[in-house]
């Protein structure tokens, strides 16, 4: 009788392809963005942020890209991570890593049916995501989530990162709490903070080097777009406003989603000019994205300010039921 070695190798994790896991609530999280590194100590069971801190990252140390090297100065990045971790107080536990949105590719995919076998389903999702990837699908590390399932229609949210790019981030995290147990694009971590309402919710996440627009309606993601920006938002004010307007129009015209609220999260906080320009362009009020539960109640005032300016993704991590 012949043994099915491939199956056993797959079960034992000896095969080359890496399968991703499910969401796990971290107790310590790091958010790496061009220009800053934020860290937080979390208590997922009490849905609280215990401590938060941010440290400026030297310009050019991190250049997010989907298919090129991201970490250009690993020494500076490691030093910054060490400093902010020391300030926040890393007491071990599961490590969560939030990476820039630009490094990942997110896609909403439609299927008639999805195989029950997770491996086969992953292969199918990856095959369909290939047109969104600027590299070979075999090089991607994929995580996907079924958003809606109806007879003859399965809606899937897929997130892919090039293996070599992710390996850079993981290499920087080496020695910290045994490596990351959770890796997500920063904007994905914001999704649990959006209100579960019938009407469309537009999230604008403005980070150094990128604007991510996400539309969620009836607790289902309907749209995702990450627009890389050259320089800061103030320098690209017109482009940011045009992008936001385009997203709003696309949702209303093409998707038929009436956007009820526009949630805005800019990290670091932008000058009033940027916010005002965006509000004017959209013709909507920009509502700051805040946690509707109070996850940072125990924080000192200086840390609370840091939390409000940088820590919303951490709030999303503790808000997400694991």
């Amino acid at each position: 009788m012949l043994m099915n070695w491939t199956r056993w190798k797959k079960r034992l994790g000896l095969e080359g392809h890496i399968h991703t896991g499910r969401f796990v609530a971290p107790t310590f999280a790091l958010d790496l963005e061009p220009g800053f590194v934020a860290a937080a100590r979390l208590n997922p069971s009490k849905r609280q942020v215990r401590s938060v801190g941010v440290q400026e990252l030297p310009a050019g140390a991190l250049v997010p890209s989907a298919n090129k090297a991201n970490v250009t100065d690993s020494k500076a990045l490691r030093r910054t991570i060490a400093e902010v971790s020391e300030r926040v107080g890393n007491v071990g536990g599961k490590l969560g890593l939030l990476i820039p949105d630009v490094a990942a590719r997110v896609a909403l995919l439609q299927f008639e049916a999805l195989p029950d076998n997770p491996g086969q389903a992953e292969t199918l999702v990856l095959w369909k995501m290939r047109e969104y990837l600027p590299y070979a699908p075999e090089e991607a590390r994929l995580s996907f989530q079924v958003l809606a399932k109806q007879p003859g229609s399965v809606e899937v949210l897929g997130v892919a990162v090039r293996g070599s790019v992710l390996a850079e981030y993981e290499a920087v995290m080496e020695g910290i709490n045994g490596g990351p147990a959770l890796v997500l694009p920063a904007s994905v971590a914001l999704l649990p903070l959006l209100p579960e309402e019938e009407g469309g919710q537009l999230l604008l996440h403005l980070c150094p080097g990128a604007l991510t627009a996400v539309v969620v309606a009836s607790n289902r993601m309907r749209y995702w777009r990450t627009r890389p920006l050259e320089g800061d938002a103030l320098g690209n004010l017109e482009e940011v406003a045009r992008e936001a307007t385009r997203v709003l129009a696309t949702c209303q015209d093409n998707l038929g989603v009436q956007v009820q609220n526009v949630w805005y999260c800019a990290r670091p906080p932008q000058p009033a000019d940027v916010d005002g320009a965006l509000a004017n362009a959209l013709g909507r009020e920009l509502r700051p994205l805040l946690a509707n539960f109070v996850p940072a109640a125990g924080l000192p005032s200086e840390q609370r300010e840091v939390f409000e300016h940088f820590g919303m993704p951490f709030a999303g991590l503790v808000a997400n039921p694991s």
Partner: protein
Amino acid sequence: MKITLNLSPAASLRDRLALAWAVPATLLGLAALIMLGRTALQEYREYRGIQRQLSEIQVRADDLRNQETAIRRQLENPAHRELFRQVRFVNKLIDQRELSLTELSARVAGLLPDNAFLTGLALSSPKKPGEDYLVRMGISAKNEDAIETFLNDLEDAPDFKEVSIINQGFQETSTQADQVSVVCTARYLPGIDPEAGNTGAEEPTPNRQSDR
């Protein structure tokens, strides 16, 4: 909106089982290690015992070899060599003295009854080492009883064996009237005390080769 995404690698079966099996595997490994250690210790002790015995045997063999060498050295001494030569000479003389024709004649004559006498005696040396001397005897007597008595005595004698009658003659062939003559052979064993085997008991003579 709830998310279940995670780009971190899933813990494989190996990872999940690694921790669960770590303790039993360690205990098993330790048990195996202890068993191996005990076996190795036992084998080492046996090895040491055998090695000690071997050393003792080697020491004894060396002693014996030394003794042999010393004895050889003594024998190779000129004084001892001369003594050795003399001893060999004496032994040779003793060997020669072992067989005396005079003694043989006297011995055969001693076996003859009064009315019988020896007419011939011949002695053949052994052809091969280990063989006995062959004695050929001619006996004359006045009657058959004397011959019978002689032959019986010859058979009973411990220094003679395998008595065979070669020729027996009566009056017609004898040179003298009323005479009985016989020629017989026997193997002679010099150096055996004639008195030693003379028990006086009447025993069968299985080595007798002919009926008279």
